[in-house]
Symmetry: C2
Subunit: 199 residues, 2 copies
């Protein structure tokens, strides 16, 4: 039995760690925050370090960057290592709490390249973030890239609002769609569940 | 900047590692598999190493145990460290693949103490498992323990079936309800999102 059988580690690729050094401490403008997230998405597939998805956790008011993370499913053999799970887990690790909405803390938001998949959507209420910001939420992501986004709740915004979480949509939508088209043109492996197999 | 800022590790508590040594290699009977999962749930809250939830990944035909994991949210400061995310990630780590339904592999199933929360439900289609087995799916879990299970898709079984994943329900249902009652009687902290705060 390998000593690390009961433990797993997920991390960001080297380029993303370098990229963090070049980021300013804060991005006061919401579009600048999304532009940074989209750029991480692009670099992730260009560097072949994961799928074309990134997400960032920021202080809502100031835009202070907590961390921006990327999809790590294939390189790290973990189907749950989507960008949103990565970024929420890293933000909680950095801030030393399982609850980003804890008492006495600033309010945090998560930015994501598109409406999160069913799993990452379900992770939002548990994270403590106060706001989810997405570039878009239509069928374009699935249509352009071929990724399945899974069985998300049909009233996804209402259900978050009920839990005290705001949603902001359509921030740099065109730039996200441009990214997905670049990805699709790169002849990628679209993994999905069981490589898209159905029985 | 801490050297491990961009990396996080999740693991099982010591007692669970010891417990694995006592498990047989395989549990041919489905109820025995669920009994083992429920016992891990119980030990997890009794040992104060996480919430009263466990999940196991097994070979569907033989009952060979891949791994049984537990909720680690509070001790490891990670709101996504639910039992199902833990067990799928550990199984993929152990087997060296992000896809438990890959070609040439035996079929795998996940057993969970109850219908998974919205996040863990969404993780199922990405994992490659062929079957989800739960002790129950009614409101009892939320009513007895106070945990919010989140905005799960209303047609949750149909949506899994569409993706080639079978669902078996009501395996040792009474034993799971007994567990939740024991947990509720232990005067626990029920964390939920932002400790249940709503605004």
């Amino acid at each position: 039995m390998a000593p690390d059988k009961f433990s797993f580690t997920l991390d960001l690729p080297e380029w993303a760690i370098e990229e963090h050094k070049r980021l300013p401490d804060a991005l006061p403008n919401l579009e600048d925050r999304m532009a940074a997230v989209i750029e991480f998405s692009r670099k992730n597939f260009q560097n072949e370090t994961g799928g074309p998805f990134a997400a960032g956790v920021f202080e809502r008011e100031t835009g202070k960057v907590v961390v921006i993370a990327v999809n790590r499913v294939m390189p790290q053999n973990c189907s749950s290592a989507h960008a949103e799970i990565m970024v929420l887990s890293l933000a909680q690790h950095i801030l030393g709490t399982f609850d980003l909405g804890g008492q006495g803390m600033p309010e945090y938001q998560m930015l994501s390249t598109w409406r999160p998949c069913a799993m990452c959507y379900g992770a939002v209420p548990w994270s403590g973030i106060r706001e989810l910001v997405v570039a878009g939420d239509g069928p374009e992501l699935e249509e352009i890239t071929g990724f399945d986004e899974g069985p998300c709740h049909p009233d996804w915004i209402t259900e978050l609002n009920k839990r005290g979480i705001d949603v902001i949509n359509n921030v740099l939508r065109d730039k996200a769609i441009e990214l997905f088209k670049e990805y699709a043109a790169s002849n990628p492996i679209v993994y999905n569940g069981r490589m898209g197999e159905r029985e």
